[in-house]
C-alpha cells in the first residue's frame, strides 16, 4: 500500500496548514512520517509531478500540490505528459492517460 501512503501524504499536505508549512521548510522530514519507497520519496521531495502521476497519484490530489509548488496550470499538464514520456504509462491507481503525450487538449 505504498501508493496509498504517498497519496495520504499529499492529501494531508493539501488540507493541513501545519503540514503545508513543514512542506515548504523541510519536505524530507514531512515525508519521513509516511511509509514510502525511495522512488516515491524522491519524487515527492523534488516536486516531480510527472513522476508522481506515473506512480499513480490521483490528479485531484496532485493538482493541489502542484498549485502549492507554484506550478502554473498548463505547465502542470505538461509535466504530467512529460512524466509519461520519460517514465512510461501510469503504473498503478485508477486512471490511465487517454490522449497522446504530444497532444495538448487544453491550456496550451
Amino acid at each position: 500500500m505504498s501508493l496509498y501512503s504517498l497519496s495520504k501524504l499529499i492529501y494531508s499536505l493539501n488540507r493541513d496548514p501545519v503540514a503545508k508549512a513543514q512542506f515548504l521548510s523541510e519536505p524530507a522530514k514531512l515525508a519521513d512520517n509516511f511509509d514510502l519507497t525511495a522512488e516515491e520519496r524522491d519524487a515527492f521531495v523534488s516536486h516531480d509531478v510527472g513522476k508522481m502521476y506515473v506512480l499513480g497519484v490521483n490528479g485531484q490530489i496532485l493538482m493541489h500540490m502542484a498549485a502549492l509548488c507554484g506550478i502554473e496550470w498548463s505547465d502542470y499538464l505538461q509535466r504530467m505528459r512529460d512524466g509519461v514520456k520519460t517514465h512510461g504509462p501510469v503504473r498503478e491507481g485508477i486512471y490511465a492517460m487517454t490522449t497522446g503525450t504530444d497532444e495538448k487538449v487544453a491550456g496550451a
Binding site: K8, N58, G59, W73, I94, Y95, T98, A106, G107
Partner: protein
C-alpha cells in the same frame, strides 16, 4: 416544509481560476446563467441549501471513504485550495447543526449517510457558492457522494440518496433548497484535461431533463470512464438531484469549454 428549489451546475476550478482564458462570449454566457440561477435560488427563500458535491479528497480519503456524507456543523470554511489559485476568497459559511441532525436522522431510514461535524469546502462547493451566494448569506448543508475513489456507489443508490433527501426535506418545517454540482464528461486534473465528449453530455442531459430514471441508470462505470472520463462518475450528483426534484428540467446553459476542463452546465428542475 418542503423542497423548494433544485438546480445543478458545474464546479470545475478553472471556471473561476482560469476565468479569462475562455472565449469571452462563452465566459459571459456561463456567468450569466449562474446569475440567473442565483436569482431563482434566492427567490425560493430557502431556510437552508443542501449542496451535493462530489468533493476531491478535501475531507474524505481512502482511510474512511463514505459513499454518502452530510455535514452537521454550525459553520463551514473554505476554500481548502489556495484562494489565489482558485480566485475565491476564504469565507465562513453559516450552517445549522440542529437542522442537519433532523434531516440526517430521516435520511438514515433508507440511506446510510456518514455525518460530519466538521467539513472544509473545496472547489466542488466553493465555485457554486461563489456564484450562487456571493455574500455568504445562505445557510448551507454540504453533502457528498463518493465519485472519486472506487469502489464507487452504484447509480441506483445515488437515486435512493436523492429520494431520501426529498423525504427528509419534506419532513421538516424549514424551506429546503437543493443544488447538486458535478461535471458531466471530463478528465480533470490529468494530462487529458480539456477533453470533453459533447455528444455524450447532450445524451445524458436529455435523459436528465426528461427525468428519465431508467435512462440515467443505464451507464456502467467502465463505459462512463471510457467515454466520459473519471469526471463522468460525477453524474451521480445530477442523478440524486433528479430523484429529489421529480419533475422535468430546464437547461440554462451548456457548452464544452476546454480551458475550464468540463462541459459547463447550469440547469434547474421542477419539484414534482
Amino acid at each position: 416544509m418542503s423542497l423548494v428549489f433544485t438546480g445543478v451546475c458545474s464546479h470545475a476550478p478553472g471556471i473561476t481560476g482560469r476565468e479569462e482564458r475562455a472565449p469571452k462570449d462563452q465566459r459571459d454566457a456561463l456567468y450569466g446563467a449562474y446569475a440567473e440561477m442565483r436569482d431563482a435560488l434566492h427567490a425560493a427563500r430557502p431556510d437552508a441549501v443542501i449542496i451535493i458535491a462530489a468533493e476531491h479528497f478535501a475531507n474524505f480519503f481512502m482511510n474512511n471513504m463514505p459513499a454518502y456524507a452530510v455535514g452537521m456543523a454550525q459553520s463551514y470554511q473554505g476554500p481548502i485550495e489556495d484562494p489565489e489559485w482558485l480566485r475565491i476568497p476564504a469565507r465562513t459559511q453559516p450552517g445549522n447543526a440542529e437542522l442537519s441532525k433532523r434531516l440526517i436522522a430521516e435520511m438514515l431510514q433508507t440511506v446510510d449517510v456518514a455525518y460530519c461535524e466538521e467539513w472544509q469546502f473545496d472547489h466542488g462547493i466553493m465555485v457554486p457558492l461563489h456564484f450562487l451566494d456571493p455574500e455568504s448569506k445562505l445557510t448551507v448543508i454540504p453533502a457528498n457522494i463518493n465519485c472519486q475513489g472506487p469502489p464507487l456507489t452504484p447509480l441506483h443508490r445515488a437515486w435512493a440518496f436523492g429520494e431520501a433527501i426529498r423525504r427528509a426535506a419534506d419532513s421538516v418545517p424549514e424551506r429546503i433548497a437543493l443544488v447538486a454540482t458535478g461535471g458531466i464528461s471530463h478528465w480533470p486534473a490529468t494530462p487529458d484535461s480539456g477533453r470533453i465528449n459533447e455528444e455524450w453530455d447532450r445524451t445524458f442531459l436529455d435523459k436528465w431533463l426528461a427525468n428519465d430514471r431508467d435512462g440515467m441508470m443505464d451507464y456502467t462505470d467502465a463505459d462512463t470512464y471510457a467515454e466520459a472520463g473519471q469526471g463522468g462518475f460525477e453524474i451521480r450528483t445530477f442523478i440524486a438531484a433528479a430523484a429529489a426534484a421529480g419533475g422535468p428540467g430546464k437547461l440554462r446553459f451548456y457548452a464544452p469549454i476546454p480551458i475550464y476542463a468540463v462541459g459547463c452546465t447550469v440547469a434547474e428542475m421542477e419539484i414534482a
